[in-house]
């Protein structure tokens, strides 16, 4: 437990926060309320998908086949896996990319305006074979998701 806490502290960029973990969390949520564009550190600290959903204050995500994911079935290297999400859902304001079984599931958040298409491609690390999950958050707050498994294999000579 102690170690985990230290890891968390390492990931904090704000050197001002030196108090207890509780006050740090409080301060950070306050900061977030003040400025919606600030980096959402607590979401990037969440260790599970449930924690993450809570941290981002998301409504219950609903599975939608209107979200298409383009991911490789097998990755010969988990360090670089290209993932793409696109959707026919209207008014998408946000894409949230997750790798479910990573120590930190949240990979990226993309905030879109009406000037861009609801299609995003990125490259993620996969610590192991895992579902890639993409949340699409609409302007009205509803969240849809789709997921697809990426198998991470051992490659090379193994040495």
């Amino acid at each position: 437990m102690q170690l985990r806490f230290e890891e968390m502290m390492n990931t904090r960029r704000n050197a001002l926060i030196k108090g207890t973990a509780l006050s740090a969390l409080l301060l950070e949520s306050l900061m977030r309320a003040e400025d919606s564009f600030a980096y959402q550190q607590s979401a990037f600290d969440a260790k599970t998908v449930a924690e993450l959903n809570k941290s981002l204050g998301l409504s219950v995500p609903l599975e939608s086949s209107q979200i298409s994911l383009l991911t490789p079935e097998i990755a010969e290297n988990g360090a670089v896996v290209q993932v793409a999400a696109t959707t026919t859902l209207a008014n998408v304001r946000r894409w949230i990319f997750l790798v479910e079984k990573n120590p930190i599931p949240l990979v990226a958040i993309f905030n879109l305006t009406e000037d861009v298409l609801p299609s995003i491609t990125a490259r993620c690390k996969f610590a192991q074979t895992s579902d890639f999950i993409a949340y699409a958050q609409l302007a009205d707050g509803r969240v849809y998701y789709n997921k697809k498994e990426v198998k991470v294999t051992l490659g090379g000579c193994g040495g």
């Binding site: 990931t11 980096y39 290209q82 790798v99 990226a108 993309f110 879109l112 861009v116 993620c124």
Partner: protein
């Protein structure tokens, strides 16, 4: 000092696909060094994309984005001569902006 990005654009019927490669370590904060200690996280946290000076997309990234990140998105209603610019900022306070023109 940070190295330049490589931004490539492809325009079809007023939709410009923007492909960006950035030069960054993206240390996840999960790995241990040879001494057994966690290598501190070092990653791009904020990305923003502008079209003729107007922000059209922002992103927040964690340590789960791969080294030398790649990102692709598409801007609607572009015309030749439009300026696309990309800015990133990392958790050490480094940042970089590069821009290209739609042809």
């Amino acid at each position: 000092m940070s190295d330049p990005m490589r931004i490539r654009l492809q325009s079809v019927a007023g939709v410009t696909t923007v492909k960006v490669l950035m030069s960054h370590e993206m240390e996840s904060g999960q790995r241990r060094g040879e001494d057994g200690r966690i290598i501190p996280i070092w990653n791009i946290q904020d990305v923003s994309a502008s079209w003729n000076g107007k922000v059209v997309m922002t992103a927040e990234w964690g340590g789960g984005i791969s080294k030398n990140p790649f990102m692709q998105f598409a801007v609607k209603g572009t015309k030749p001569g439009d300026k696309i610019s990309i800015t990133w900022k990392d958790n050490r306070g480094d940042s970089r902006t590069d821009e290209v023109l739609v042809t």
